[in-house]
Symmetry: C2
């Protein structure tokens, strides 16, 4: 079966004509019409089997997660997702696996009206690279730079669920690891409000560190304010929470900075998208990341998570 | 070293600001300004070690080829290349390898003024996925569909060199296999003239077959007219040439259809870009691919090349 037959067979529905698609899969390249007056946001992330997901992860969840990690990058830019390209390297043409993988990819892409417009299928060790393209009105995309002294640091949703699930101690949270929710609508809601944004793929401490470096700022974070799910609270002791919540990866929540005068407005806008926005600290002009608990300085995580234990480069 | 440090260190010069790049590598996604009035062309191709290139290929040539196969797809659409994203999966952080790979990628990208605007680095079995983005004025991109009965079938350059090099019999042609030349300028020159186009990645017979299927047409090709290099002519017997030239992969030449009334104009336009355009046959309304030699029907290749001997899906 050639690649287009394979893609047409398993990915039907994903390749339907969507906004701005003049020509989708089936030629040497897709022909796409960018929205006038918008800038494009583009990102590529790779998932390698055994590295970015456990080898026993079901195909459906791999399909979902391969797209979700890319959409999370678009969410952090405040972009509306438009199109994606899939480069799929598979050890063999396992039809059950392909059907499950396509289902997971389709389920998430339908939630956001994204079209699969191109890609490649090759044989080799299991690995998936998705390139996602989104758009935002010119000049409105969120960046890592731009945080100002006095800005409030906020995060969407809850932190630490995926890291706890990865430890195997909270089966109820497994979906937070296997099927993360890219915060696309929250990112859109925060456009025009947030001064800086990043998605939390490698843990709050490391990812916020990228914002601080890009903005030339520091931050004070209050360990007691980090939002946690009920399942997380039940399954953890308080002494271990900070590490899981601030140095554990795969949250795929957004971390944003915004003027304190706009916190109420931002919280309402994010809550309208079905998640929460929690203030966890403040940006300061003094470089570095400092932690407090009950107003007193404590030692806390300074670095992010590295996937599994191999020291591989984190994905952006 | 995190991925941005790695990319900044080895890919400096590739990430310089280029046309339409508002924000390149270093954030969650690149911010890109599409050329007004243009459509975008996007393609992703993966090279897997041992599958799409021999394991002993030097890093420089892998970097070149990973970009070249993507640019060849853009060439077949008549697109001007703008930007690319690199997803690089590496077994280890081998600095010599990275420096060589980056040099090869840089050399080709500089020839076409392309900026590396994003990507991902992960650890795993060696594999490279590049997503290339180009543009063309709205409505002018070349497609596989559109060939008309009576059109002349033409190819750029010479055929069979890479297939012969792969067999190990023509060291002088090794660069044709390892460092193919994407026919970007020829593709641009053929915009507004060609009725259909494809790049020859998997062999003339199979790739032209895609054009015929998309256009609902057939073709008669004259085996004696297939253009060959001097090195190819010297190293081969006439009896083996047709298979190498029409069923061998990795030529990365363009195959285009165009009205016979415009053949002279097309040839001059392509020659001005530094390569040749050779008429090899004619499109007919009768489905199927038919071969002649000296005006008499002969058996000839009907299908393309499959990478190495694994039956993997060909790349587009």
């Amino acid at each position: 079966m050639d690649e287009f037959s394979l893609i047409r067979r398993y990915f039907a529905g994903l390749t339907d004509s969507a906004s701005g698609v003049r020509l989708g899969i089936g030629d040497d390249a897709a022909i796409l019409i960018p929205p006038p007056g918008h800038e494009l946001l583009m990102t590529s992330d790779t998932l390698v089997a055994g590295r970015h997901f456990p080898l026993d992860t079901v195909a459906h969840d791999i399909g979902w997660k391969a797209l979700a990690v890319n959409l999370s990058d678009l969410a952090a830019m405040g972009a509306k997702p438009l199109w994606c390209l899939l480069a799929l390297t598979l050890p063999s043409s396992d039809e059950d696996w392909l059907a499950g993988f396509a289902d997971g990819l389709r389920e998430l892409s339908e939630q956001h009206g994204i079209a699969l417009v191109g890609g490649d299928t090759t044989r080799g060790p299991l690995s998936i690279t998705i390139t996602a393209v989104g758009s935002a009105p010119a000049g409105t995309a969120l960046r890592r730079e731009g945080a100002k002294a006095g800005d409030v640091v906020c995060v969407t949703g809850t932190l630490g669920d995926a890291a706890l699930a990865l430890s195997g101690r909270a089966p109820a949270l497994q979906q937070r690891l296997d099927r993360p929710t890219p915060r696309i609508d929250a990112g859109l809601a925060l456009r025009g409000i947030a001064t800086a944004a990043i998605d939390l793929s490698d843990g709050l401490a490391g990812d916020l560190g990228h914002v601080l470096a890009a903005s030339g700022m520091g931050a004070e974070l209050d360990a007691e304010t980090l939002p946690m799910s009920e399942a997380f609270a039940l399954a953890t002791e308080s002494a271990e929470r900070l590490t899981l919540q601030a140095a554990g990866g795969d949250d795929y929540e957004l971390c944003v900075c915004l003027p304190s005068s706009r916190l109420r407005e931002a919280r309402a806008a994010v809550e309208a998208t079905g998640t929460t926005l929690t203030a966890i600290g403040v940006i300061s002009a003094e470089p570095g990341l400092r932690w407090t608990r009950g107003g007193l300085p404590i030692d806390g995580p300074q670095h992010g998570y590295r996937h599994f234990d191999d020291g591989s480069a984190a994905h952006g």
